[in-house]
């Protein structure tokens, strides 16, 4: 068994290079690869071969980590397409989008301060629906239109949405305790 470290993760797992993903197939391919490259299976081998097997196992796990999460997978597809999502430096989102984000954050803050659990749960539900819709756009941009610039903008939007989701989860957790 050997794996090609220059292959991209989709090729590594034998999956089509797409955003839409058969999660079951990814998991099955991961288990199968992991079983083959796991260092414990190579205990009888030389140090060099053990090290190499460790490298393969790391590559397989890293690939699984990236492909499993929709947002990380989308970022990886952008990377493969040579498009920089500029997550650190692109601050110029549409003002309407940012205003909307501000309003969401204010609503979460208010509900948190007033300890309104049902309000937070409602925000959580609405945000889930919104996130699903945005991921739908992302799938179309990446898989159907190959419009990577538009997809990069959607990835940036999803970063804010995930952060918001995290804020709501934290607020709910804080109120539960």
């Amino acid at each position: 068994m050997s794996i090609d470290l220059t292959q991209d993760y989709f090729a590594l797992f034998g999956l089509p290079r797409r955003y839409a993903l058969d999660e079951g197939a990814l998991e099955a391919a991961w288990h199968e690869l992991q079983g083959r490259v796991h260092p414990d299976r190579h205990a009888h081998l030389s140090d060099f071969e053990k090290r190499r097997s460790m490298q393969w196992a790391t590559r397989v796990n890293e690939g699984f980590r990236v492909l499993r999460k929709p947002l990380a997978r989308a970022q990886y597809l952008l990377e493969l397409a040579g498009v920089d999502a500029a997550l650190e430096t692109n601050t110029a989102m549409s003002p309407e989008f940012l205003m909307e984000q501000m309003e969401w954050r204010e609503a979460v803050e208010e509900a948190r301060e007033a300890a309104e659990v049902s309000e937070l749960e409602d925000l959580h539900r609405r945000l889930l629906g919104h996130a699903r819709e945005v991921r739908g756009h992302l799938a179309a941009q990446l898989d159907e239109h190959q419009d990577y610039e538009a997809a990069a903008d959607t990835v940036r939007r999803l970063m804010f949405i995930e952060k918001l989701q995290q804020e709501i989860d934290e607020a709910l957790l804080a109120l539960e305790n």
Partner: protein, 127 residues
């Protein structure tokens, strides 16, 4: 990660938090966001007839460094002309607050917020 004393000071006692009334004369708004951390920053400036920034307010959802960066720039832009405000660089903000490298994007956000607010003012007052 430890915050510098200046960051803590602005974080605990943020200057100029809030918003101006929509109908107030000479108010312009800059909205920016940092995808990497999900921070959102709103910076408003109130510009006098002489073209000097009289007052500034901010609202930021983000980490301590983002809040400190925006709080600091609301102080810095006051008394400056629009062009002088545009001269404020993120490196100055980062240096003043002793931001570590991983928090430099917070100072970039604050610099971009000034630019966005000035652009908004110019857009409203041209023609």
């Amino acid at each position: 990660m430890a915050y510098s004393e200046k960051v803590l000071d602005h974080y605990e006692n943020p200057r100029n938090v809030g918003s101006f009334g929509k109908e107030e004369e000479g108010v312009a708004t800059g909205m920016v966001g940092a995808p990497a951390c999900g921070d959102v920053m709103k910076l408003q400036i109130k510009v006098g007839k002489d073209g000097v920034i009289e007052d500034a307010k901010f609202k930021t959802y983000g980490c301590g460094s983002a809040i400190a960066s925006s709080s600091l720039v609301t102080e810095w832009v006051k008394g400056k002309t629009l062009d002088q405000a545009l001269d404020i660089k993120n490196t100055q903000i980062a240096e003043e607050l002793a931001l570590p490298p991983v928090k430099i994007h917070c100072s970039i956000l604050a610099e971009d917020a000034i630019k966005a607010a000035v652009a908004d003012y110019k857009k409203k007052h041209e023609a």
